[in-house]
């Protein structure tokens, strides 16, 4: 039992349901939802099925490798199906079966948990999926993105790989997980967690981060004017990461926070609008 066999099982399962298996996006993101394979593809009217692993960074969740559950980088398994199949919930339940979980022996609950990302004008309706009380998945029917009604409606399934693996291996500490037969999570990630926590909380240079935020924001605006939407969106992702770092440095006042979120949202909304206009013109 290992994270990599979990990933392989999910890959096989969702490939068999017609998903294209994307590779992880090569920029820092807070969640799989933010990568172009989700963000852009849910906006247009075409059918879309994709599945991929996405490393997700949340600098404020760092705990120097000392907390058994919290890490500043974790791995999500992201699935998008558009339009949402009518039996998607049953398919999801089957996917847990495919991981070797005998659901007859467990309590699986879909607990109301609507999703909202104000910075990209997006929201959806759905649940956190609890398996014997453990949150293993976010399950969301997207309703809007970039402030625009989505049609057809995409469904997003985001498995928390570490959570799921802790359940499968019956372990209480994330660092005790197996990545493969021979390599443990501790081997792969412990030093990274310690070093990045140090960086995120203490050493990230506030002035340079603020400068970077501004210059990327500016770049994004220029690119939007040139209709280069994918590069423009990359700049937004970078801004978002710089913002998160500044936040973990405790360097953002309340008014600044509101302003920076509005700046990102504004750019992302423009990108979404332009993308939709481009996709709907012949």
């Amino acid at each position: 039992m290992s994270i990599q066999s979990l990933i392989m099982n999910l890959q096989r399962f969702w490939a068999e349901r017609g998903c294209y298996l994307a590779q992880s996006y090569d920029l820092e993101v807070g969640a799989g939802t933010m990568t172009p394979d989700t963000f852009f593809r849910v906006l247009d009217k075409r059918a879309w099925k994709v599945a991929y692993v996405q490393p997700s960074r949340r600098p404020t969740d760092g705990r120097y490798g000392e907390n058994p559950h919290r890490v500043q980088k974790h791995f999500q398994y992201q699935v998008i199906m558009k339009p949402s199949p009518s039996d998607i919930q049953q398919i999801y339940i089957e996917s847990l079966g495919a991981l070797g979980i005998n659901l007859q022996d467990h309590d699986i609950r879909f607990d109301e948990d609507d999703w909202e990302a104000p910075s990209i004008g997006a929201w959806g309706v759905g649940w956190q999926v609890l398996l014997d009380g453990l949150e293993i998945t976010q399950f969301t029917y997207f309703q809007q993105a970039g402030g625009i009604d989505l049609f057809p409606v995409p469904v997003e399934i985001t498995y928390g790989l570490e959570r799921l693996e802790m359940f499968l291996e019956g372990k209480d500490n994330i660092y005790d997980l197996n990545w493969s037969e021979d390599v443990s999570y501790q081997d792969l990630r412990f030093i990274e967690e310690r070093e990045f926590s140090e960086y995120n909380f203490s050493l990230a240079n506030v002035r340079r981060l603020k400068d970077s935020f501004l210059s990327n924001e500016k770049e994004a605006r220029l690119l939007i004017d040139k209709d280069l939407l994918l590069p423009a969106y990359d700049m937004c992702l970078k801004c978002s990461h710089f913002f998160n770092l500044l936040d973990s440095r405790g360097a953002i006042s309340v008014t600044e926070r509101v302003k920076m979120i509005a700046q990102i949202r504004n750019l992302v909304s423009q990108i979404a609008e332009k993308y939709i206009a481009r996709e709907s013109s012949p």
Binding site: I93, D111, P152
Partner: protein, 692 residues
């Protein structure tokens, strides 16, 4: 004939299920009656995955008798008794022979016409037309779309079962075509199965591990809890909301008893039970008000034969408690006093400043209020509490469990050995969070709670934000209700309008609206809240108006006034007094104020009335300021005979202008006195409209 409708969905939030069931029943009844179909025994059942309505409906619409009025009899029948052309024309237009026309008596006279009986259509033809519309008209607090449809519902619909008299009713709604089958528990029995009657439906589902009746599930859960707790001699830490949530959240309840390591018992009960409820929706178990190292969970399962559900939950809870313990220990490293320094950077409201500003205002308000209610002993402590009460907003614990704000601060203050009156005030200062919540048990808590809430209400009003029907972003209605509740329960006497003046003055330049405007807005806002509270307590609407419309300078007195009116409303003297008050009001309408000149009291009856009035006045003024409204009221009843004699024998509106003015002045004085007890003219007496 038996009717069954079952809408199967993905998991709806329990609150959605409840509102949908209420709407389904209402709308179905409404539609049936407008369609003339008799519907009896309409019952609703539901789980998070299904909405069910059953009923006994007539097989067809009631026959409808229709009267069609033709020409007046005088025109239709000629003098010699034959039918006129008008009658023949009418009969022809209705497709009947003239001889079939009958005389119909109406209010306007006799007409010729006919009675037609329209045969009711079979319900089988009507129901498929009205049901799609009923289902699609259901509204939820938040609605969604799915797939490729623009249909909106709480969560995606998966299946609709609809039977009438054992046969399937065919229609489609939200992209779902109805059928005659249902499905069982999503894990154990997801396959579809055909049913023919409600009895069969219910029993089949029970075998497939779904109990559709919420009351039955409630009983199942309660019975299992009792069984699990019997040997521990313990009880569940009461949590009605969580219980209610769970009743709808499971289709087949299985209660399990889990445990956690005793080392976490050092955490306060509030923290433990919140950690259990918020994250995991399990109940904490207490004995003699102390947490035991156990919890109860309710799974959507029929068994836990391998104990995997219990063990899984135990593991998750341990992680949560470990977090809570970490927060508790970390938070205690910084004293509340030290923490308050950070409040400068925490925004209370953009225009109203930081929580540090709020803290400074609270200190002034509580100190003023403590003086006014003569809480000398408590004054020092409540000021001390005000100083630290917002510090917990900066703790990890409150960041994790926002609902524990106040409680957490109080618990940390207790750990820091603040006096009981201080930490309790901090602990309780958000209470009551609703009218059903308890008010602060400590006087210091009551004072701080009133100050905190009033500060928010005045501040928000002061920057021109008004609360409207749907908009109340700061929860100010609840805040105002909380203030009223505390004042009434604690029997606090003080001038509310002067307290408002004080709070407005403390805000100073921060509030931009004119001071008088803020004050009158707040007084209005509070009287509306007070009316709402009284209505909720079941008082008569007009009595509430009589008590509240005289002003709410003393909120506790408003309550006493109302109580006095309520207790004396059956007294034989009550109605006559109201008639008198209304009569006095009518006479005085649009009159300028006059002054009484005793020497002008010419008639015996007006002199007697003046004497009675003076005696009553001298007697009741002290009673009013004491708040003894029942006694004041009883004394006022005594004015009746004098005033009636006055009205019987003295002409108020005499031509003699000085006399007239003097008599009006006497009545004005009486009216002014009455209104100190209540505005009697607001009270409705049977057979009379209320006059405003």
């Amino acid at each position: 004939m038996e009717f069954i409708l079952e809408i199967n969905t993905e998991e709806m939030p329990p609150a959605h299920v409840k509102t949908a069931l209420v709407q389904l029943k209402e709308k179905l009844k409404e539609e049936l009656s407008s369609q003339n179909i008799d519907g009896k025994q309409i019952e609703t059942y539901g789980t998070c995955r299904r909405l069910v309505v059953v009923g006994d409906f007539a097989p067809s619409q009631k026959d409808r008798e229709e009267e069609i009025i033709g020409p007046p009899k005088a025109v239709a029948v000629t003098k010699d008794g034959t039918f006129s052309d008008a009658a023949k024309g009418f009969a022809k237009s209705q497709g009947v022979r003239v001889s079939e026309l009958k005389v119909i008596k109406t209010e306007r006279g006799e007409y010729l016409g006919l009675k037609k009986i329209e045969k009711g259509k079979p319900s089988v033809d009507i129901l498929p037309k009205i049901l799609p519309q009923i289902v699609s008209s259901l509204t939820f607090p938040k609605m969604m779309r799915w797939g490729e449809s623009s249909f909106r519902f709480s969560r995606p619909m998966k299946n609709i079962l609809c039977l009438f008299g054992g046969k399937m009713l065919s229609f489609s709604v939200g992209g779902i075509q109805t059928g005659n089958s249902t499905a069982g528990h999503k894990i154990y029995f997801p396959e579809k199965i055909i049913v023919r009657s409600f009895r069969e439906y219910k029993e089949t589902l029970r075998k497939m591990k779904v109990v559709i009746d919420q009351e039955e599930r409630r009983t199942m859960i309660l019975n299992q809890i009792v069984r699990k707790l019997a040997s521990l001699k313990a009880t569940v830490h009461p949590d009605e909301d969580l219980f209610e949530h769970i009743v709808y959240d499971v289709e087949y309840p299985h209660v399990f008893l889990g445990s956690f390591p005793e080392e976490y018992l050092n955490l306060p009960l509030e923290v433990l039970s919140t950690a259990m409820r918020e994250g995991q929706k399990v109940f904490s178990i207490v004995k003699d008000k102390k947490q035991m190292p156990f919890f109860l969970g309710v799974a959507d399962a029929y068994q836990d034969s391998k104990s995997l559900i219990r063990m899984g939950n135990e593991r998750v809870l341990r992680a949560r408690l470990e977090d809570a313990k970490f927060f508790w220990e970390q938070d205690l490293k910084i004293s509340l006093k030290n923490r308050t320094k950070g409040l400068k950077k925490t925004v209370f409201q953009e225009k109203l400043g930081s929580y540090e500003d709020k803290t400074q205002r609270l200190k002034k308000i509580v100190s003023y209020l403590a003086d006014k209610i003569e809480a000398k002993k408590e004054k020092k402590q409540v000021v001390q509490a005000a100083e630290i009460c917002k510090a917990d907003l900066l703790t990890e614990m409150v960041r994790e469990f926002p609902l524990l704000q106040g409680n957490v601060g109080g618990l940390y203050a207790r750990e820091e050995k603040y006096p009981a009156l201080v930490w309790k005030a901090v602990y309780e200062h958000y209470q009551p969070v609703s009218l059903d919540d308890e008010s602060p048990a400590s006087l210091t808590g009551a004072i701080l709670s009133i100050a905190d809430k009033l500060d928010s209400i005045v501040g928000v009003a002061g920057i021109g934000i008004t609360v409207t029907g749907s908009k109340d972003p700061f929860g100010l209605r609840r805040n105002a209700q909380g203030v009223c509740k505390i004042i009434i329960e604690r029997k606090l006497h003080f001038s509310f309008s002067r307290l408002l003046d004080k709070v407005i003055a403390i805000y100073g330049e921060k509030v931009q609206e004119p001071k008088e405007k803020i004050k009158s807005y707040c007084l209005d806002f509070f009287s509306n809240r007070l009316r709402y509270i009284f209505e909720r307590q079941g008082y008569r609407y007009d009595l509430i108006s009589a008590a509240v419309s005289v002003g709410i300078d003393n909120i506790y007195h408003s309550y006493l006034r109302l109580n006095a009116l309520d207790s004396l409303k059956e007294s034989p003297s009550f109605e006559p007094l109201i008639i008198i008050a209304k009569r006095v009001n009518n006479i005085l309408k649009d009159q300028p104020l006059f002054k009484i000149n005793q020497e002008l009291l010419a008639e015996k009856e007006e002199r007697e009335l003046y004497t009675t009035f003076s005696i009553i006045k001298n007697n009741i003024l002290p009673l009013i300021s004491k708040g003894d409204f029942p006694q004041a009221q009883r004394i006022i009843f005594r004015i009746r005979s004098s005033i009636n004699k006055f009205f019987d024998n003295v002409l108020v509106m005499t031509d003699e202008i000085r006399m007239r003015r003097n008599r009006l002045a006497l009545l004005q004085a009486i009216s002014k006195l009455l209104i100190q007890v209540a505005d009697y003219s607001q009270i409705v007496i049977e057979g009379q409209d209320s006059t405003k």
